[in-house]
């Protein structure tokens, strides 16, 4: 009886210890997750800034010298 009680007590202590370990692990991962979320948001923000249509149009026209082709010069191929 005493042996069982002691074993059970030790078990409780061990489990408590494990819980604490796992809990801190969860906390760490949650924090990492939040950090990734923030990084993702920052990157999406940056991507959207770069992908802004007004900016793309400006860059295409000014820097790359692109233009919308004149309809008269478009040849369409009938299927």
């Amino acid at each position: 009886m005493v042996v069982i009680a002691v074993a059970s007590a030790l078990g409780v202590v061990h489990m408590k210890y494990r819980t604490r370990l796992l809990f801190s692990e969860i906390q760490r991962l949650q924090q990492a997750n939040e950090a990734y979320d923030e990084a993702l948001a920052q990157l999406q923000f940056e991507q959207n800034r770069q992908a802004d249509r007004e900016r793309i149009e400006r860059e295409a026209r000014a820097r790359l010298g692109m233009n919308v082709p004149d309809p008269a010069t478009i040849i369409s191929i009938k299927p």
């Binding site: 923030e38 999406q44 007004e54 919308v68 309809p71 478009i74 369409s76 191929i77 009938k78």
Partner: protein, 575 residues
């Protein structure tokens, strides 16, 4: 040696002893009683009070769903931000040096005085916001300074990557992240998600020591795909903005709709505002005019009056109408044309936009039939989009119509519509008489359509409307190279406080392209162009042309006009 002996007889201490014992026992009983009371009887209450001070249920804000365009491009997204707050009690007690507060002020972008004002002087307050929703990086730097009583919480901020391009349609959320206007409000219940809750033990400084359990896991809001195509939306926004500026107009509205599904592909208004700036835009600027504002459609209404007559077999495109003199007396009133067009057929009435001709045709229609036709086209009815502030428009009951009223209704006065209603009505012409339900969200299943008129009538009307976009018509500037376009101009006198104004107009164009197999319908409304030109064919039609041209190209819709430039490319073998 003298021994002093107590001379008194030994007293009996028994009484004193008993009294003392009694006192001790009583106090013991009281103490035990109190202990029992606290530990057993009142335990629940006290434990609860203790927990209240140290164990708290804190909400975990749910992530609000994204709003995307029909192709999944992000239009509105909630990004994690941090909110800096202080505990004035601790802050004032620690009394950080001025240099520290200055450094903090720089990071949060405020003046030192502002911060001190927010903290206040009350030493008993435990909470005051300093700066809500700032960049997480800067907030972390503030925390790293280690000023006592300064804390940060995680929150979400709504961010609109497309800025003013989609500002009106999307609407806004308030500082707590709930939909306030526009699609944010329409879709709020879906976007919102369910906040989670977490029970945690806090110390006296409200810091979380131990997270006990998650009472409820937060459920993220749903992602919602709108019907608009951000590529077309951008084009529409750009052209509308340029035109409104060029013609010194008060405002402008453009609606581009899919003829077959009723999905709104672009919806733009001017003036616009930046939804990412914190300052609140005035309602005059922020409302989505395309849905909330009414105007008289003027000549853009004529195709429907004539289509009604065609449907009832009262006329045909070749029927001859006499508009000689350009003036027609209806009762005591007069219907006028801009020019005297003389004798012409119905097609020409549309092409030249003759009020006299249209009135003569419309007055052959029984009032009840004309009313029902307009009513079925959705005029004076809601579009059922649930959009906040959606206008129903006005179509008076036919019982009260005078002959003159019926005539004016045929050329679009005395009835008021929103740009979206007008665009939706034109889908009936482009879609062989079938009108779909309008939708601001992407339609993935078969759209619900209603038959408004026969395919024959709709096709006849389309053929007539094609003549408008020609050198002889009123809207040659609406032409799109390589494509056949059908449409109708409108130049509408605005209603002022005392009837129709003499010199302020709305310039309108409503059109469908490509005419051989309609895909897109667009309504352009420019409010009070005041730089000289004001005709719909001169002010609104060019916007239609430019936006439609790019939209057709972006959507990869094949040209349907055989011009010399369109030929079958030869395969000359390897070059």
């Amino acid at each position: 040696m003298k021994i002093i002996k107590p001379n008194e007889a030994p007293q009996d201490y028994g009484v004193r002893w008993r009294v003392l014992l009694g006192l001790l026992l009583t106090s013991l009983t009281v103490l035990i009683g109190r202990a029992v009371y606290l530990q057993v009887l009142d335990k629940q209450f006290l434990k609860h009070q203790g927990d209240l001070r140290h164990v708290g249920v804190m909400p975990i804000p749910a992530h609000r769903g994204k709003i995307t365009d029909r192709n999944g491009e992000i239009l509105a997204v909630s990004t994690p931000v941090k909110t800096i707050w202080v505990n004035p009690k601790e802050f004032l007690k620690a009394a950080p040096g001025r240099d520290k507060i200055e450094a903090m002020a720089r990071l949060v972008g405020m003046r030192v005085e502002e911060i001190l004002q927010k903290v206040g002087e009350d030493e008993h307050r435990a909470f005051a916001y300093v700066k809500r929703k700032m960049s997480p990086e800067l907030a972390d730097q503030v925390l790293a300074m280690g000023i006592p009583g300064v804390y940060a919480d995680r929150e979400y901020k709504r961010y609109y990557p497309t800025g003013e391009v989609t500002a009106h349609l999307l609407g806004t959320t308030n500082v707590d992240g709930n939909g306030q206007e526009g699609m944010e409000l329409v879709m709020d219940s879906g976007l919102r998600g369910v906040d989670g809750a977490r029970r945690a033990v806090r110390d006296g400084k409200r810091r979380i020591i131990e997270k006990i359990e998650e009472v409820r896991h937060p459920v993220s809001g749903k992602e919602i795909a709108l019907s608009i195509d951000s590529r077309l939306q951008y084009i529409a926004h750009r052209e509308l903005k340029n035109t409104v500026a060029q013609h010194h107009a008060r405002s402008g509205t453009l609606v581009l709709m899919d003829v077959k599904t009723g999905e709104v592909l672009a919806m733009s208004n001017q003036p616009a505002f930046n939804p990412n700036s914190r300052s609140q835009a005035a309602p005059d600027v922020s409302r989505n005019r395309a849905i909330t504002d009414l105007f008289e459609p003027g000549s853009t209404m004529k195709p429907f009056a004539i289509a009604c007559a065609l449907e009832l077999g009262l006329t045909n495109p070749r029927a001859i109408i006499n508009t000689n003199g350009g003036v027609w007396h209806v009762g005591t009133n007069v219907v006028k044309d801009v020019h005297n067009y003389g004798v012409m057929d119905v097609t020409k009435v549309i092409q030249k936009s003759s009020n006299v001709g249209t009135s003569k045709i419309a007055l052959t229609i029984p009032p009840r039939k004309l009313w029902a036709f307009y009513h079925n086209l959705g005029f004076g009815q809601t579009l059922e989009t649930n959009y906040p502030g959606e206008a129903r428009g006005r179509l008076s009951d036919y019982h009260g119509w005078s002959t003159f009223e019926q005539a004016t209704l045929s050329f679009g006065y005395g009835v008021s519509v929103s740009a979206m209603q007008l665009a939706r009505a034109y889908t009936a012409l482009g879609n062989e008489g079938l009108m779909p339900m309008a939708s601001l969200t992407r339609v993935d299943e078969e759209p619900e359509v209603h038959r408004i008129m026969s395919a024959k009538t709709a096709n006849m009307m389309m053929a007539m409307l094609e003549t408008v976009v020609s050198k002889e018509g009123t809207a040659f500037q609406a032409a799109v190279p390589g494509y056949r376009v059908a449409g109708k101009t409108g130049t509408v006198k605005k209603l002022g406080a005392h009837g129709y104004t003499a010199s302020s107009y709305n310039a309108l164009f409503a059109g469908v392209a490509p005419a051989s197999d309609p895909r897109l319908v667009m309504v352009v409304m420019i409010d009070e162009p005041s730089a000289g030109d004001y005709y719909g064919g001169v002010v609104a039609a060019p916007v239609f042309s430019r936006v439609m041209q790019e939209a057709l190209r972006v959507l990869n819709i094949a040209p349907d006009q055989s011009t010399p430039s369109i030929m079958v490319a030869r395969q000359d073998g390897p070059a």
